[in-house]
């Protein structure tokens, strides 16, 4: 599978108005496509002899031969090229004629940027399928775009094998793992190695939004759906069109949201809030959770039918303490990354600092490690990171207290982090690598109290 280069795709813009040609050309040049323009049918036909054109954006109303006649002419010698009609004068009649005569799609000026980019992405997807014949391909040899997934340990290699297996299949995937293990990176890797990768992957953190907002967030709304809704708003289901939807912390969905989601997955379509029109739900679903969904099903907090829908192919991410072999690699990767983004030379990690990193238990997993390294890079002045540059709790908790349960350790860690950050919820949540809602839930669960 080769990386996709938009410049391999040539778009021809045919319109008699210079400002339209110029603005469309500039718009698609920003995306990296190769662009040619023509101001009339004769120029367009000439262009097609000189360039191998993949997509034509065609205006209907032009002096001389009009767009529909030009389409007919082109079809006489080229069945392959994708023609998208863009016209200021839309009638159902011309639309039907254009589509019957082999236009790929049809839209009216002025067009929503979003609609235009989707029209073209759909066309690009079709071209790519033709070129790569991906539809027939069932396995991949090499994973692409996984530079951010660092890990040579056995457990991580197993994870990447699973990603390789499932990525090209379009199957629903459930990613399990503690907070901070990098579930979103794995979701992205699956998406980027699937045939949907030219469409977006849309992440939704189900735990971060109250139920009242989640509905509009997922479904979007029509103009006037409620007071203040002056404009149509697209929901995540729609944004994920053609691509993948990544539902993180799916275990936190309310029962009502679970029913909503189940219905969309079953019907493969939905309505925007306050809307009549059905919108197709064409996305691949990737979910993640750090809770035991099976247990949630038994206690009736999670619907069994939805559980079977999402639990098709499971990938379990190991916590960092179970793949300590990756810590040196991860640490130097993060040192490199943060030094770079601060435009500084990368400091070295002293062997004492590395010992601390290797023995710490990392309840916040890779994200906690990254935060610790970022902090060290920020405060380090000498060019060599020592244990003193690491956050206090990393040094202190490096040997896990014997006999204590996981939740006792979590409680202790969270309360310590809260103190360290003066009970600033946002900052503490960020340091722990969890969202604020989860943090509030944990504070409640352990009955933690802010000191007077």
């Amino acid at each position: 599978m080769t990386a996709f280069d938009p410049s391999d795709i040539t778009i021809m813009i045919v319109d008699d108005e210079p400002s339209v040609r110029q603005s469309l050309a500039a718009w698609f040049e920003d995306d990296g496509y190769s662009i040619v323009t023509a101001q009339n049918a004769a120029e367009a036909l000439q262009c097609m002899q000189e360039h191998s054109v993949d997509i034509i954006l065609l205006d209907i109303k032009m002096p001389g031969m009009d767009g529909l006649a030009l389409q007919d002419r082109i079809r006489e010698f080229n069945q392959q090229v994708i023609i998208i009609i863009i016209t200021a004068f839309a009638t159902v009649d011309t639309a039907v004629r254009a589509l019957k005569a082999g236009a790929f799609d049809y839209t009216t000026k002025p067009v929503d940027p979003d609609e235009l980019s989707h029209l073209v992405l759909n066309a690009v997807d079709k071209i790519r399928l033709q070129r790569e014949n991906l539809a027939l391909r069932e396995s991949i040899d090499h994973l692409q775009f996984v530079d951010d997934i660092i890990g040579e340990s056995g457990p991580m290699q197993q994870v990447l094998e699973l990603v390789k297996t499932v990525a090209p299949t379009d199957s629903t995937v459930l990613i399990l793992g503690e907070s901070g293990t990098g579930k979103e990176l794995i979701a992205r890797a699956i998406h980027m190695n699937s045939r949907r990768r030219y469409f977006p992957i849309i992440p939704v953190n189900c735990g971060a939004l109250p139920e009242s907002l989640l509905e509009s967030e997922l479904f979007g709304h029509e103009k006037g759906a409620f007071t203040g809704a002056q404009y149509r708003r697209k929901g995540k289901f729609e944004m994920a069109q053609g691509g993948s939807l990544f539902l993180d912390e799916i275990g936190t969905l309310s029962l009502k949201s679970q029913i909503d989601l189940l219905r969309v997955l079953e019907d493969r379509e939905f309505h925007r809030l306050g809307g009549e029109r059905t919108v197709k739900a064409d996305f691949r679903l990737i979910c993640a959770t750090n809770v035991d969904l099976e247990k949630e099903v038994k206690s009736a907090v999670f619907r069994e039918d939805l559980y079977y829908r999402v639990n098709v192919f499971t990938i379990t991410l190991p916590p960092l303490r179970e793949r300590r072999a990756d810590i040196p690699l991860l640490a130097s990767h993060f040192v490199e990354r943060h030094a770079r983004s601060m435009n500084r030379p990368a400091p070295e990690l002293s062997s004492e600092a590395m010992d601390v990193l290797l023995t710490h238990d990392w309840p916040g997993n890779v994200r906690e490690l990254e935060n610790a390294i970022e902090r060290a890079v920020v405060i380090n002045k000498t060019g060599i990171i020592t244990p003193d540059d690491l956050p206090v709790q990393v040094g202190r908790n490096s040997v896990p207290p014997r006999g204590s349960s996981l939740s006792e350790m979590e409680e202790e860690h969270i309360s310590h982090m809260l103190e360290e950050n003066n009970w600033n919820i946002s900052r503490t949540a960020e340091k722990l690598g969890i969202d604020r809602v989860t943090l509030y839930n944990k504070i409640e669960k352990y009955g933690l109290k802010r000191p007077e």
Binding site: S23, A26, V111, D112, S117, K234, K236, M239, S341
Partner: protein
């Protein structure tokens, strides 16, 4: 990165509501090795208004912005509260000259209130910063980035802007390191 580029930020039409140019300046300077100068007085862009669409033609706005260039000017970044468009599209968030002097973006559709959701100064500031970085990225020769989460991801919807990070991915950063 070699020299530090001078970027002049100019309000167009009038000062955008609820936006701190100072905050925008420090945001940009944290990500890009540029030095920002803010012109306090807004530049008039009335001649770019399309009365029938009640929007401003962004290509004409860029032309007006270019008239503000001085001999030492390296980059001009216009910011306007007015809605921008190009002829075929219903609107644009911004426009930039690829690998060239000028870029502009509009705050009109970056306000939550525009979509009927409660206003958020934090979100507005984050969106402004991302739009500014994105359009400046174009002026430094970057095209849309498709392979990584990156501020150069194309955004056709305000939620797209919210989803992308306010930073450049590694390949884009490497490109910037060469040109800057």
């Amino acid at each position: 990165m070699s020299g530090v580029r001078e970027v002049t930020v100019i309000p167009l039409g009038t000062h955008p509501r609820d936006v701190s140019l100072e905050e925008l300046r420090s945001g940009i300077e944290q990500i890009l090795p540029v030095r920002i100068t803010i012109r306090p007085r807004p530049v008039d862009i009335d001649s770019a208004l399309d009365a029938s669409r009640k929007q401003y033609h962004s290509t004409s706005v860029l032309a007006l912005l270019l008239q503000q260039a001085e001999p030492h000017t390296e980059r001009l970044l216009g910011i306007t509260p007015y809605d921008l468009f190009v002829p075929v599209l219903t609107f644009v968030f911004g426009q930039a000259q690829l690998n060239n002097l000028a870029a502009v973006f509009s705050t009109f559709r970056l306000h939550n209130e525009f979509y009927g959701i409660p206003r958020s100064g934090e979100q507005l500031a984050a969106r402004c910063l991302k739009e500014a970085l994105h359009e400046l990225g174009h002026t430094f020769g970057l095209r849309h980035c498709i392979d990584h989460p990156c501020v150069m991801n194309s955004s056709t919807y305000v939620e797209d802007i919210d989803l992308k990070p306010a930073d450049f991915c590694l390949p884009c950063r490497e490109h910037l390191e060469i040109v800057l």
